[in-house]
């Protein structure tokens, strides 16, 4: 059963395998964003307490972001092994840091000074102020960063197919370039699913942000 160049029969026969690769793709993306958030939160706190670190930190994450992913895999493989999740995640996390750190810092900087002064004056501890005032108010900008980082990472995960992982990238690259009549079908399936995952994740995060920040949508009265 074919539809133009697409072999639907192959898709149906390989649904389990495609599902597994989709799951792998989601897991690789999720780990990268999760670890990226933890590291960038730590970096943002560092910058908040020592603003002069902003330049160096953003430059360093910018350099990481600029390294071609293939080169990074090649550099890491002797250290962390070929085709290991560790190798893949070091690269994937590196690429999230610029966007996540920058948005987290900008989000915290955008918290109105009067809200911070009021919080101090009313007796918030530093931690209470961060968790109950600053982070909630920084949330829209932080989530905007997470959305960009997620969409970017979903795309990048496919590249890890070159070191033997790849999630949907395995469909696109490994199976897609193998001999056999279903190669094009596998590639198209992988691309469509990867784009779909990115789009759904983007919309889901936007929805989450709106659910978490109902205050940001109400219009100003004055």
């Amino acid at each position: 059963m074919t539809m133009g160049p697409v072999d639907l029969g192959w898709i149906v026969d390989n649904l389990d395998r495609i599902g597994g690769l989709l799951l792998e793709h989601l897991v690789l993306t999720g780990i990268a964003i999760g670890i990226g958030l933890v590291i960038s939160f730590a970096l943002a706190l560092l910058i908040r307490n020592r603003p002069r670190w902003y330049g160096p930190v953003i430059s360093a994450t910018g350099i990481l972001y600029a390294i071609p992913s293939l080169a990074l895999f090649a550099l890491l493989t002797p250290l962390t092994g070929l085709g290991t999740v560790l190798t893949a995640e070091i690269a994937l996390v590196s690429y999230t840091l610029l966007i996540l750190t920058r948005n987290m810092v900008e989000g915290l900087r955008a918290v109105p000074a009067d809200a911070i002064e009021a919080a101090n004056g009313m007796g918030y501890t530093a931690v209470q102020r961060l968790l109950r005032v600053e982070l909630p108010l920084a949330l829209p900008i932080i989530v905007a960063g997470i959305r960009i980082a997620t969409v970017t990472t979903v795309g990048l995960v496919t590249v890890t197919a070159l070191i033997g992982l790849g999630g949907l990238g395995y469909l696109i690259v490994t199976i897609g370039t193998s001999r056999g009549s279903f190669g094009l079908t596998a590639t198209l399936t992988g691309v469509v699913l990867a784009v779909g995952v990115a789009a759904i994740a983007d919309v889901a995060l936007l929805w989450l942000q709106r659910a978490l920040t109902p205050w940001a949508r109400r219009g100003a009265a004055t």
Partner: protein, 394 residues
């Protein structure tokens, strides 16, 4: 009026010197604010008024001296605990945009881990107190409110845990003059009920005179130039700086501190249409002060003035001859407003009327002048002659 729920706030030789500066921001400040009174810190920029206020809740730590609240040194408590016991209102209000109005008011109770029910009850009570219907406002967000409404929420939030002391940093500075006037009046009425000890910072001397039970005038370098009641400062500025700071119109400013009801009213010669001229003439002659009789209608409401000229000859009074336009003032009017009304009329007398417009008595420009020359009660509780300090220094 309730008993004062406030506490005595005392500054003892308090000095603040910022690192890297020669001149202190606050220099050996000693003053005591009685429980339940509003003490306004006022002065030009750089006079240390905000620094002084922020040392009370230790947003700024003094370099020397000590500050006590009801005798307890503020440094004896951890700073965050101290701040939860002191209300704090700032110019930009500083409501948390991500919290509803109710949650904003409940901020300090939640830091103090009050129960849900007690917090909810207190929140509604406070919104009611500042004139915002809880049902309508509780679940709205700060961006949905006007500037004046937000400022009222700021005051409610500061009162939430019923603190004995409130710090207010130019609280009405960011609203337009008309709303400011209304917020000031509302706040004074509120203070009648809650009777907190309030340290109020402003750069506006008129606001200081209006809001303060006492005013501390600070000059550059954090030097206390004068600390007294508004009336005493206006009557007897301690230094040339104070005299310049309060303005050349300080006599008029004193008039806005006193009200018509504070004066002894003058009994008018009241006449109605149709009364006999000769009779009115005799009554007017008996009065030393008055040259005019007041024509009123059947409801005792003023219609105009009758002078000697109108009373010549015999027969009934002709209401058409009366000079219309007697300026009316209410017992609650300030002497400043009364004077202003009277100066605009040809007969320089004001008619004091009740809410129904009926005549209660008269005030004269002379009586207001006498009032300005009468002794003034100072913060020491004694009466001081007007100009006594200036005379001593001259």
């Amino acid at each position: 009026m309730q008993d004062a729920s406030g506490a005595v706030v005392a500054f003892e030789h308090v000095t603040k010197r910022y690192p890297g500066t020669d001149a202190p921001a606050v220099d050996d400040l000693t003053l005591s604010v009685p429980a339940g009174e509003i003490c306004v810190l006022v002065g030009p920029s750089g006079c240390g008024k905000t620094t002084t206020m922020k040392m009370v809740n230790r947003l700024i730590e003094p370099t020397g001296g000590r500050i006590t609240i009801d005798g307890q040194d503020v440094t004896q408590l951890p700073a965050v605990e101290l701040r939860r016991r002191i209300g704090y209102v700032i110019q930009q209000v500083g409501l948390f945009p991500h919290l509803t109005i109710g949650a904003n008011v409940a901020v300090v109770p939640s830091l103090l881990r009050w129960g849900r029910e007690r917090t909810a009850q207190r929140t509604d009570e406070l919104l009611e107190l500042v004139g915002l219907a809880p049902g309508e406002y509780r679940d709205r967000y700060p961006t949905e409110l006007s500037g004046g409404e937000r400022q009222r929420v700021g005051v409610a939030r500061a009162l939430a845990a019923d603190p004995p002391v409130m710090l207010m940093d130019e609280p009405f500075g960011a609203v337009d003059p008309i709303r400011r006037e209304r917020l000031q009046n509302e706040f004074l009425r509120l203070q009648e009920q809650v009777r907190k000890t309030i340290i109020f910072v402003t750069h506006d001397v008129d606001e200081a005179i209006k809001m303060g039970d006492r005013i501390a005038i600070l000059q550059r370098g954090g030097i206390l130039a004068q600390y007294d009641t508004p009336a005493a400062i206006l009557a007897n500025p301690a230094t040339e700086f104070v005299e310049r700071f309060v303005g050349a119109d300080r006599g008029l400013k004193r008039l806005s501190l006193a009200r018509v009801r504070d004066l002894d009213p003058i009994a008018p010669v009241v006449v109605r249409a149709g009364e006999d001229r000769a009779d009115v003439r005799r009554r007017l002659d008996r009065s030393d002060e008055l040259e005019y009789a007041l024509l009123v209608d059947g409801e005792n409401r003023p219609l105009g003035w009758i002078d000697q000229h109108d009373l010549r000859g015999d027969g009934p009074i002709d209401p058409e001859a009366a000079t219309p336009g007697a300026p009316t003032v209410e017992p609650e009017s300030t002497l400043r407003d009364a004077l202003s009304a009277m100066l605009g009329s040809s007969v320089q007398l004001g008619v004091v009327v009740d809410a129904g417009g009926r005549v209660l008595g008269l005030v004269s420009v002379d009586a207001i002048g006498d009032r300005l020359r009468a002794p003034v009660r100072g913060a020491d509780g004694r009466l001081h002659d007007v100009g006594e300090d200036l005379a001593a220094s001259a």
